[in-house]
């Protein structure tokens, strides 16, 4: 299912896009996109690494494997201010919790909230900046009931906040989330309500199974389809060319 997620994620990465990204599955997806349909996509990392060649799978965004093949290396403020300047087409984020409007929590878990967390998580990092400022962003996450929640314990990074018009009222420049890719399905967002709607379901997964793994009522799009199964040729590229050592996939 990791391979289905990776390739589904890569399909949102278009040729010529500047993509703000971290390590892990999204990086593999971006390298796959560059090797197939989006050779002119440019990757930008929080560390200030711009346009590295997909020669090695890096374990960290400041990794020497990224730095040594990049066209430009600067620092964090440079990347984040390129983002604020409106130069990033797509950001890719993970999450610990997400709600129906695509708002994300990566800060604290537990009923005690921010003041008395049960579990303290790493925090925003650049995620709030990406969610606020990239022209659009994607969320990639495992599909668990504790992840897809009715109410976040903390709102770290803005999706559509409280619904239609809320991002605009907050003065956010970016367009917000366009899709959520999980190991069960792909959600997109309704233009009118800004709520998550199932766009496609992965092979072998049922709508009931998704409902059980989602803490809010799931909405199924009128044109819901089965997620396109990766072709053998695509899997060969992924397994043999992009991540042959199986670092992430």
């Amino acid at each position: 299912m990791d391979e289905v997620m990776t390739i589904a994620t890569s399909r949102y990465m278009l040729d010529g896009n500047t993509i703000f990204i971290g390590t892990g599955l999204p990086m593999v997806a971006a390298y796959f996109a560059k090797a197939t349909h989006a050779p002119n996509a440019v990757l930008l990392f929080e560390s200030g690494v711009l346009d590295p060649q997909p020669k090695y799978i890096a374990k960290a965004v400041g990794d020497s494997r990224l730095v040594s093949t990049a066209r430009r290396v600067s620092g964090m403020m440079d990347s984040l201010l390129l983002l604020q300047g409106g130069h990033v087409d797509l950001g890719v984020l993970g999450c610990a919790q997400i709600d129906k409007f695509g708002n994300i929590n990566t800060t604290v878990i537990g009923p005690g909230g921010y003041a008395k967390p049960t579990t303290r998580l790493p925090g925003s990092g650049g995620a709030n900046d990406i969610a606020s400022l990239a022209k659009n962003f994607l969320v990639v996450t495992r599909h668990k009931p504790r992840t897809f929640v009715d109410k976040l314990d903390y709102l770290t990074s803005p999706g559509y906040l409280t619904g239609p018009g809320a991002r605009e009222r907050a003065g956010l420049l970016g367009g917000g989330p366009i899709a959520v890719v999980t190991d069960k399905c792909i959600f997109e967002f309704d233009d009118n309500t800004c709520e998550m709607v199932i766009k496609s379901i992965h092979p072998g997964v049922t709508a009931d199974e998704i409902a059980e793994s989602t803490g809010f009522k799931i909405l199924i799009g009128s044109e819901v389809e089965q997620t396109v199964i990766p072709k053998i040729s695509e899997l060969e590229i992924l397994r043999n060319q992009i991540d042959p050592e199986g670092v992430y996939i």
């Binding site: 390590t23 604020q84 303290r120 709030n128 606020s132 956010l172």
Partner: protein
């Protein structure tokens, strides 16, 4: 000829007072001034406030040894390993107070201090709990009307550190210093601090700095002390010099899963060593040589072994 700022590690560390606010260079698993941090812990000042953007290893060591009371933070995690456990547990148990930021927000706060302005505009944070929950004495974020008639805009307040400690590849005796690879937020950190201590892999002549003067990220005029700390980011890496010591980092991360093992790590590698010379002697030269990077690839061929 200006007077040399080169001092011993112990002397530089002894200038740090109880209750100081600190920030450290580095990003991910490289470029952190960890020789400095270990020596700081050995000298036992405490009650620090950290202004921490990407200093996961310094923050983890300092919080784990009970040296920190508050963190203005944007993100503390060990990429590829998981959350920083000593920090997470200290926050969960209420031993350390935190105020969360985004990376851009905290960077701009340091830069505002460094540029001598009370605040800087920012286009993120608004609408999130980073805006609605603010816990530090000094408010970090608010919205104002643009005085130029372009509607509402977010602003972050200036935040100054007492000391920024910056690990570098090369420095001259005045602290004019070069960092290769990604420089994280060093430019904001050094400007946003009352004083700057440079630690460096290599002390070089002024001529060698002049030859590469476009790469000088730390202007010596901001620097109060320069310390020679080769392998000073260990167990992290330093671009163009040595790779991360993956084996050691994994060993630390395992130890950080429980209190007794964490205390044993601190006893063995920090308190149990008289100084950094003894720390590196105990690791052995073969270990260190194997971390040296290949000059073409820029990473070590025998990683962490």
């Amino acid at each position: 000829m200006s007077k040399s700022k080169i001092v011993t590690l112990s002397t530089a560390v002894s200038t740090i007072k109880n209750g100081s606010s600190l920030s450290f260079s580095g990003f991910g698993h490289s470029g952190h001034p960890l020789s400095f941090v270990r020596e700081l812990i050995r000298q036992r000042p405490k009650d620090f406030t950290l202004n921490a953007i990407a200093e996961c290893w310094p923050a983890e060591f300092l919080v784990g040894t009970g040296s920190v009371t508050a963190i203005n933070m944007s993100n503390l995690m060990f990429e590829g390993l998981g959350r920083c456990r000593a920090i997470s547990v200290a926050i969960e148990e209420g031993r350390v107070k935190v105020d969360d930021h985004s990376h851009l927000a905290l960077s701009l706060r340091l830069l505002a201090a460094g540029w001598g302005v009370p605040f800087l505009p920012i286009r993120s944070i608004a609408g999130s709990d980073l805006e609605s929950i603010q816990t530090a004495e000094k408010q970090k974020f608010t919205r104002i009307m643009s005085p130029f008639g372009e509607g509402e805009v977010g602003v972050v307040s200036a935040l100054q550190s007492d000391v920024a400690v910056i690990h570098t590849n090369k420095s001259d005796s005045q602290g004019n210093a070069i960092i290769y690879g990604a420089a994280s937020v060093v430019e904001a950190q050094i400007r946003g601090a009352k004083s700057v201590i440079v630690t460096t892999e290599q002390l070089v002549s002024a001529d060698e700095i002049i030859e590469e003067n476009q790469n000088v990220i730390v202007p010596g005029i901001l620097v109060s002390a320069v310390v020679h700390t080769p392998f000073g980011s260990h167990p992290g890496g330093m671009y163009k010099v040595y790779d991360e010591d993956v084996e050691h980092m994994d060993m630390y991360y395992e130890a950080s899963r429980n209190e007794a093992a964490l205390a044993a790590y601190h006893a063995e590698y920090i308190y149990g060593k008289k100084d950094e010379n003894e720390y590196f002697e105990s690791l052995g030269s073969e270990k260190l040589m194997n971390l040296r990077v290949d000059p073409t690839l820029q990473f070590a061929l025998k990683e962490g072994k």
